[in-house]
């Protein structure tokens, strides 16, 4: 699932990485050096491979499309193939276009300039001042040549990314005009005739029916396998062995970055769930025991209000009340530690003592909603059990109330509250995004938020995978707790 998301993410990771690797060069500049860098990154990320073991494609599709470097060109080629249904012809057209575009890079402006000026040089030329004469008598100025070249190069580049027939034809016509006007672009014009011929060939040999026949393609080496199991060639270990790739932001391994964040989030989720259970069970018991009393009514209204309060509202209100210079300044406003005092070498207790003021407000925000939910469930479960025959029997036996409630009723009413443990866990993980953003805690939630703002997909995928894993662990713990509480349940 996470993998599907990562491959469908918009934008080209190669573009992003190559930009963060070398912070220079406009997007359109396709010098040989940047191309090389991009190819290396593609190789490293394994993007030159097909996505999955099996792919379902149209019969007309080319099965080596994923080898094209540029993602936009890749998409465009797919569109062309789908339109004309003849990938051999499309590939001839594409290669012709590519050679034409490369020809632009090796075009020597200086030489053209000299060649064109040479004519006037010969007609006037006598003696040493010939060079100056040539400049005056040049047929085309350097700027003109450059302009012509740029125009043609622009048209060719846009041809590489257009698939609409009228657009292509108009571009071809405009290129023809350029070449007719500027004879010195002869080498380009030669290549261009090939392009034009191949496009006409493409139009004539279109076989659209082929796009309606499905075919299955198998790939043994693919991105999914590399992502999951790693690949020896690239030196990656794969998600199964804890390697989530590198972050797009700073090129650091994601697994190193995420571990610190994970610890912070986990502390909060762990403590909040424990706290929620510790508070809600007694409240639920007491409310059920004194059913319909003032306490029961009052607490259920209060809990209902808590339950319906959005966490971002509570969090902002708490900040507004307790960390606001205009109101009360009991707690720090944001963060997790004071960088001016905090020392990495402190022991557990000292660092805990340092952290606790930062933890109170977020911990409350983490806890309150699940605690309200749990208390309500506990109460319902307890009311249910208290009405049953075995409780009446226990009372008839003359057991004291304490024993009846805490020993006989409690254990039986714990089952529903354990059932929801598996539900609370994912809610807490998802809720961490909002809470950590409000309190700027450096945990997984804030990291998710930043990763989304920066389109850092490996990070998002890593967090997503880890939280899915945690949820499954939550289910497992709930299952084990069932068996502990209710001996009738066994998993053998």
């Amino acid at each position: 699932m996470a993998f599907v998301i990562s491959t469908n993410a918009p934008g080209d990771p190669v573009e992003r990485l190559s930009k963060s690797a070398s912070k220079e060069g406009a997007a359109n500049e396709q010098s040989a050096a940047t191309k090389k860098v991009k190819q290396d990154i593609r190789k490293r990320l394994g993007l030159d491979l097909p996505i999955f073991y099996v792919s379902l494609a149209a019969y007309a599709d080319c099965d080596t499309l994923h080898k094209i470097d540029d993602k936009a060109q890749q998409e465009n080629l797919l569109k062309l193939t789908r339109k004309y249904g003849n990938w051999q012809a499309v590939s001839r057209y594409y290669h012709a276009l590519n050679t034409l575009s490369e020809e632009h890079n090796i075009l020597d402006i200086e030489k053209i300039y000299m060649d064109n000026s040479a004519i006037s040089y010969k007609t006037i030329g006598e003696g040493d001042t010939a060079r100056i004469d040539t400049i005056i008598n040049a047929t085309y100025s350097k700027n003109e040549i450059n302009d012509a070249k740029n125009n043609s190069s622009f048209d060719v580049l846009s041809l590489l990314e257009s698939y609409n027939e009228p657009v292509i034809e108009s571009k071809i016509a405009s290129l023809e005009k350029i070449y007719r006007e500027y004879k010195f672009l002869k080498p380009l014009a030669d290549r261009f005739t090939v392009v034009k011929a191949s496009f006409i060939d493409l139009k004539q040999n279109a076989t659209p029916w082929k796009t309606y026949i499905p075919k299955l393609i198998f790939h043994w080496e693919n991105q999914y396998a590399n992502w999951l199991f790693g690949s020896k060639k690239r030196g990656t270990k794969g998600v199964l062995r804890g390697d989530f790739g590198t972050s797009y932001i700073d090129n650091q391994p994601v697994s190193d970055k995420i571990w610190q964040k994970f610890k912070v989030s986990f502390i909060f989720i762990f403590f909040s769930i424990i706290l929620a259970y510790l508070i809600s069970i007694p409240i639920g018991i007491y409310a059920a025991y004194k059913k319909d009393s003032a306490f029961d009514r009052g607490s259920s209204i209060l809990l209902f209000i808590f339950y319906s309060m959005p966490s971002f509202f509570i969090g902002t209100l708490l900040l507004y009340t307790f960390a606001n210079p205009d109101m009360l300044v009991w707690f720090p406003e944001s963060g997790w530690q004071d960088p001016s005092i905090y020392n990495e070498d402190w022991g557990l207790f000292k660092s805990m003592a340092h952290h606790w003021p930062y933890m109170i407000l977020p911990l409350f925000t983490y806890t309150y909603s699940s605690f309200a939910f749990l208390s309500r469930i506990m109460r319902v479960g307890m009311v249910d059990v208290m009405g049953q025959d075995f409780i009446r029997t226990a009372r008839a036996k003359g057991l004291n109330e304490k024993k009846v409630v805490l020993k006989h009723a409690l254990r039986n009413s714990l089952l529903p509250i354990i059932t929801v443990f598996a539900n609370i866990f994912p809610v807490a993980i998802g809720g961490s995004v909002i809470i950590e953003v409000i309190f700027t805690l450096p945990g997984m939630g804030l990291e998710t938020f930043n990763a989304i703002l920066n389109y850092d997909y490996p990070m998002i995928v890593a967090i997503f995978t880890i939280s899915g894993f945690l949820t499954v662990i939550g289910y497992l713990i709930a299952d084990i707790l069932y068996a502990v509480v209710d001996p009738r349940i066994s998993y053998s």
Partner: protein, 454 residues
Amino acid sequence: MGEKLNIKNTASEKKDFSFKAYAWKQFKKNKSAIFSFYILVFLVFIAISAHFVANDQPLYAKYRGNSYYPAFETYFSPTKTDSTINPETGNWEKLQFDITDWKQLKLESVVWAPIPYSPSKPDRFNREYVSPNALQYYKNPDGKRVQAPTKFRHHMGTDAIGRDVLSGLIHGTKISLTVGIISMGIAALIGIFLGAIAGFYGDTNLVWSRFRYYLTILGVVLGFFYGFIARNIAISEGFNESIGSGLLQLAISLIVFIGVAVLLNYIGKVKAPGFLGKSKKIPIDSIISRGIEILNSMPRLLLIITISAIMKERSLIMLMVIIGITSWTGIARFTRAEFLKIRELEYLQAAKALGYSSNRTIFKHALPNGLAPVFVSIAFGIASAILIESGLSFLGIGVPDDAVTWGSLLSLGRQQFEAWWLVMYPGAAIFITITVYNLIGEGLRDALDPKLKQ
């Protein structure tokens, strides 16, 4: 009098007992639920009439001798334009209703909307977080800056660029309610269908010939090919054009997919000889239940955040669809449990004995009986959908930047601590709406499930 009525009621109930009437009576007994229901009706009314309740174009205006109904006319064509003759110069002047500053015109007579501000238009005289109680300014038609009269005060303050918070809240109601209803509508469609099939057939009751089974698998693959792979260019082009046409293309693809799969399934009814003719049980319940478990194993909020983060374009419709397709599991589970109960009842056995088709039995006989708990789940689902939408707009993920929603207003309050009105009012609006839906959900549960009532 009251007693008489009661006797009448019980008498008529005995004659014609209907579950709906009974449930409605039970629901009405629950005071908080019925009160919430009235609040919800009020909210719906606000949402529907938002354009006329909070609008900077007057409902009626008389200008240079002509009568206009700007708010009504822009409701049908947002860029409605008219022109008038300037009596001083004698020239025609254009009057585009939605960008004209009506407050600056010398109107002969005017009826303003109750809140004379639009949610996204800044008031340049009350910028920089003006408190509801603070001095507010207003430029009258004579061009003088005066203290705002009560009519033109911002009763809930303004934000950094001078947008009216109350107007934003009123238009936000529309967004929140539609998000809740549409996303849960999608979720209910998926959830009820899958849950009904899973519960009705179970693992053993759906028996096809092998031929039909294999042909259906082929149909799903082929349907996927024709629906999504052969059409992926049409879909991506649609999304490039606009969200609406993209969704339309997606819907066409979905229809193609389902159509091909169903067609091949029907062809499979043909009797096949030998190996292919043998019957095979389809474990449809296991398949759907595993699907629910897989979807449940992902934290829902994180899933929605992630999906909406990779969307190229942010839009509310997309958000509704995303929330809808990720939150059907609860509904499916309830429907399935209900169907497991119902299918053993005598009247369904009778339907089977009479030779009714499975489709007819499921949708005509079993479904109306199994919907009650689903309503409860939908009511709670709407509450959580609204919560998710406001949470996302609070974070600024997946919601377009220019959309004024409750969550986005609240997040503005976070940037400026003094602006308590930006936190309190939207927060209260979200809280009230969610409470209302939760209370209705509880009331429905009590009313529809008489066993729970002690």
